[in-house]
Symmetry: C2
Subunit: 441 residues, 2 copies
């Protein structure tokens, strides 16, 4: 018989229980915050008609999409992000959904990325969006929620950077960027943090057609520090007053910060150089950076998003304002591991050791009694050597063991063992539940 080699596709991962347990604990915490803020769960299919997804992610994105013909010769594509399916759903069920529609979705997406960059081809996204509310409280609520999530996950130092595309546009126009080169300029400015001013100047000259002076002027303007809304107002009056978009963007950002103040956020700042790569943002944009690690740039943006008031129109023909944020769950989890915030833990509390074949009935009774009171527990199936059974407990991170031998069975006692410290205590069988509840708190 020719064996099949067990293996994964490049860029695809298995999550064994040791990884999946802390990962799903993180998911639960995030979900709890989403729901506390009034967002409801939505699920959409993995496969969509290709035309639903095509043409939304730019030329580069388009190339990374998994697409094929199904058995019925339909052109289909695998989910590439969670925003476009939401836009489809918002259009398709527009009369059935609450208005505004606040939803979250935690689900995998697929992109045929170059895996050498440490990127995966299957990875989770974790999105919240508000469909049908104008700039203001909705944007602030997304930001306040991200702050709450980071705090609930135990991350202490982080900053949510906020900007507005209209202000950025006004800066660009002031600096001499032409309307048709706006997105190219945005993509260049987006790299400022990663590649530095020199390379961005080159790109602005090459792709946007600015002179050296204009490019440097643009970077100086976009790098201006504006510690608060008052400073932003002064900046606008001084430099970009002639561009009406600037005032419009200011009004929007001002309403967002008014709401943020009421929410009591403490980790938010304005960053005029924040650009975001995606084409579809139209107004507020934001990005969250963890600053707690030694190298602050290590994880880049772990949660970003913004307002995209034009996307749903592609399906409905009508203007539908929308804002959302996407948490980069994989990067966030990696950061939490680095920061020591991920506890290796199992889900089973008690292992009943299988010491005597003749006592299996008693063992099963114990395990059943424990489960009845909600204690996750199990019996080692066979009376194998103890070494094997302890190795099993260790592999599953089980903290407590119950030992019942023939002598103890006769006496009506049982031994409760802390499998980490190896300390143990022999007690009456009838006291077992009480004792266990005590040690498990």
């Amino acid at each position: 018989m020719k064996l099949i080699e067990p293996r994964n596709l490049k860029g695809f991962r298995d999550y064994l229980p040791t990884d999946q347990i802390p990962r799903s604990i993180m998911f639960s915490k995030i979900k709890a915050v989403f729901e506390r803020f009034g967002f409801e769960p939505l699920e959409t299919p993995v496969l969509e008609y290709e035309d639903i997804l095509a043409g939304k992610y730019g030329t580069e994105g388009e190339k990374l999409m998994y697409r094929f013909k199904d058995n019925g010769q339909r052109n289909v594509a695998m989910r590439y992000d969670l925003t476009v399916p939401l836009a489809r759903v918002s259009a398709q069920y527009q009369n059935d959904l609450p208005k505004p529609f606040k939803r979250y979705q935690i689900a995998p997406v697929w992109r045929a990325e170059n895996t050498q960059k440490g990127r995966y081809r299957e990875f989770y996204q974790c999105d919240v969006d508000v469909v049908g509310a104008p700039a203001g409280i909705a944007d602030a609520e997304c930001i306040a929620m991200v702050e709450q999530i980071f705090l609930d996950l135990g991350i202490k130092k982080f900053v949510v950077k906020v900007n507005n595309r209209k202000i950025l546009n006004a800066i660009m126009l002031t600096a001499g960027v032409s309307e048709d080169k706006m997105l190219d300029a945005i993509r260049a400015i987006d790299k400022l943090d990663k590649v530095g001013a020199k390379d961005v100047v080159s790109e602005l000259k090459e792709k946007v057609g600015l002179s050296s002076n204009e490019a440097e002027g643009l970077i100086t303007l976009a790098s201006t520090k504006v510690p608060d809304v008052g400073a932003l107002k002064a900046f606008i009056n001084k430099y970009i007053l002639k561009q009406p978009q600037g005032q419009e963007g200011f009004d929007e950002l001002n309403s967002v910060f008014t709401a943020l103040k009421a929410f009591g956020t403490k980790n938010v700042e304005i960053d005029l150089s924040l650009a975001r790569g995606l084409d579809y943002y139209t107004s507020t944009i934001f990005e969250t950076i963890i600053t707690e690690t030694i190298d602050s740039r290590k994880y880049g943006s772990v949660a970003g998003g913004g307002r995209y008031d034009g996307l749903i129109k592609l399906f409905t023909g009508k203007d539908v304002p929308a804002v959302g944020i996407s948490i980069g769950i994989d990067r966030l989890f990696a950061a939490m591991e680095d920061l020591g915030l991920v506890k290796k833990q199992g889900i089973v509390s008690v292992l009943v050791l299988n010491m005597e074949k003749s006592l299996q009935k008693e063992y099963l009774k114990i395990v059943t009694d424990l489960r009845k009171v909600g204690i996750n527990s199990e019996l080692y199936y066979t009376s194998a050597e103890m070494k094997k059974q302890f190795a099993f407990a260790e592999a599953k991170n089980i903290p407590y063991g119950i030992l019942l031998g023939l002598e103890e069975a006769k006496k009506g006692t049982v031994t409760l063992r802390n499998l980490k410290t190896r300390k143990q205590k022999t007690i009456k069988q009838k006291d077992l539940l009480k004792e266990l509840k005590k040690v498990l708190k």
Copy 2:
């Protein structure tokens, strides 16, 4: 601008919040039982190399698989069930996994089914398996766990039917089925419940080559009622003693029932006609039928499984015993809806109504205070007409509303309204949290 028609592929569904909320509550309850029984979560990719999945599901299954060439010209296929990926994982990480390996996985799978039969092309499976334990306690534990899940979900009348392929084989051989026609005979017998004895006789004559007498004899044998292990023993001694497989199967089933007795199960019975369609079962097989509905056959088997001791060998060349059960989550959910066990419910407890633009700061403060104590709550974003705001609350099934107008703000009071009964009560603002906790229990 040409609009894109928002639509789903045939056989694919969106789960809007009204469906997804009760669905995810059901998932949580099932997960809790899995974990109480010591099963840990595993996640595997949606895409696999085609050769990992191919050749495991029979000719019919093979045709339904979603497969294509990826951008790197690899032959890939979408997950077809959760058992084969588990077999791959068990082989691939054999030195890293606990032995035995007890895992659960709740995830979608894809099959290009004929949708006219009310079948979906993307649907969830919900599997638990034990890899590396022989027939006996492990099989019983799967059965006991399914019983517990049904009880925890509120289903009162159901039966888990149990059989053993070796006993079934012995019955077949006794009735005159030749070794090479065994799987054909099993597939015929598997339909006994659905199509009745007459059609099964035809199929046995046609595909298995039995005479009418032989076919009827086989059905009579397989339909023999054996209320307990004692009766089974007598049956074996009387009819199939010459087939050694029969005795072997009896010993296995006996050890399963010994363990079941210790687990205290109450809804399990032997059914010698139970066959299960899949080729890879080798020993214990089981199926769960809800009997509480008026038409007991309406949902067919809502949870089935068995022992497949040969599957992992395809990857390792070594014998690795394994047993598992798969819950048909969609059918189970549909049954629960029929039985009135699914509660329509939202996840938000409180809506702060937006009555005065000038009070938005106060509204946001209330909402933030509620969230701080863990109450899922939200503010309607704009001071729209009340009708719209109440419609929003209704669409999201929000039970309580908080009303704060200018007069109340002045007096330091607030109105708490039950949005279902429309009863309301004006209280001091400082008593709001206490009052809310009381009504929310």
